[in-house]
Subunit: 202 residues, 2 copies
Amino acid sequence: MSDTKKIGRPRNFDYDEALVRAMSVFWTKGYDGASVRDLTGAMGIAGPSLYAAFGDKRELYLKTIDHYRDADACAPLVALEAEDDIEKAVRDFLCEVIRSATEHESGAKGCFLASCVVTTVGQVDGVAERVEAAIDDTEKRLAARFDREIGKGTLPPDFPSRERAALLFDLRQGYMFRGRAGWDKERMQKDIAARVRMVLSH
Amino acid sequence: MSDTKKIGRPRNFDYDEALVRAMSVFWTKGYDGASVRDLTGAMGIAGPSLYAAFGDKRELYLKTIDHYRDADACAPLVALEAEDDIEKAVRDFLCEVIRSATEHESGAKGCFLASCVVTTVGQVDGVAERVEAAIDDTEKRLAARFDREIGKGTLPPDFPSRERAALLFDLRQGYMFRGRAGWDKERMQKDIAARVRMVLSH
DNA sequence: TGAATTATGTATCGAACGATATATATTAGG
DNA sequence: CCTAATATATATCGTTCGATACATAATTCA
């Protein structure tokens, strides 16, 4: 848009990086559990800088949600779309779900939206519509992946893309729950083959 | 055990009822979001009574979890076990899941464990083991329901009970998520028939 | 009936909460 | 350079948090 420099003293922190660090705090501690001091500490800035740059705690929270969505940070979805062979793609999706549900990047397990944000739906204004939009968007992208195969002829024309997209979505929710509860990767991987077959059966 | 009355002034509130009310507060507001004042207000008692009867906030929280489990409060599971016809039973299970995910009893939607407690796993000591035990118990009961049908001959001997139990579990998680996000009952009910078929397919 | 025991109600504790007032530092434009 | 504009650092605001001290009420047991 404009590379004209703004007047006034410039920030000495990176906006997006601070946002990611804030997300990580919300992710691990929850909305209420994350204090402003926790946030400023992780973001490497002082209180007034947080309020000047992001508004208040709630607005910062909403901004982390939007950033998560915009950054296309859902690895399983990306994996499903990247692999051309649909069977491998579904398997990759499930493997990636299990990985993200068990491995913890910066202490945060699972999906930021599915495991963390969703719990604040009735509690923090602005969250509900974002979560609902995220579900719709995710399921549309999942269904589109199946439709792509129908176009290629790999799946029959009457393949129930939307139903199976919803199934993938729900399987993910289950894995996220198990991951949170401490299940290990190996235990979850046992059903992958059968589940791939189920998702693609017709 | 003993109907001998205890010495000292008796309580003038019902222990279990207070526990249920506390659970409802945790359910709707989350662990951190539920203040001791919220809790005492809903329970109809004063602070010191709470601490005397239940310990501190965390111990009260753990007690609500145990009470939820002991009360067999998971309606879908009960519905699955109660119906003799396995096809109807699975359908009843899914219908009950959708109902509990969308209707709000005392403002709380979804499953207390699956939608609320799980988010405090890494945060509140004592929660992780309870959640893991709850998953194991639930999946065992789901699988046992299928095994019952194998015994009757309604399902083949090689029917993958454990796999399908896990599937039912994960479908539930998906519905709970959608319910939290504001999906309405009708939208979720569209896939029931196909899902019943999928769960019982062999 | 008095001693022991337990619960209740009021009032409040120190700590942590979210948020901000104030003064200073750093930039662009005139 | 001076002014306007924005960011920073320090210090702290009033509130709410989880948790308790204290005095009083209600019960059992001797």
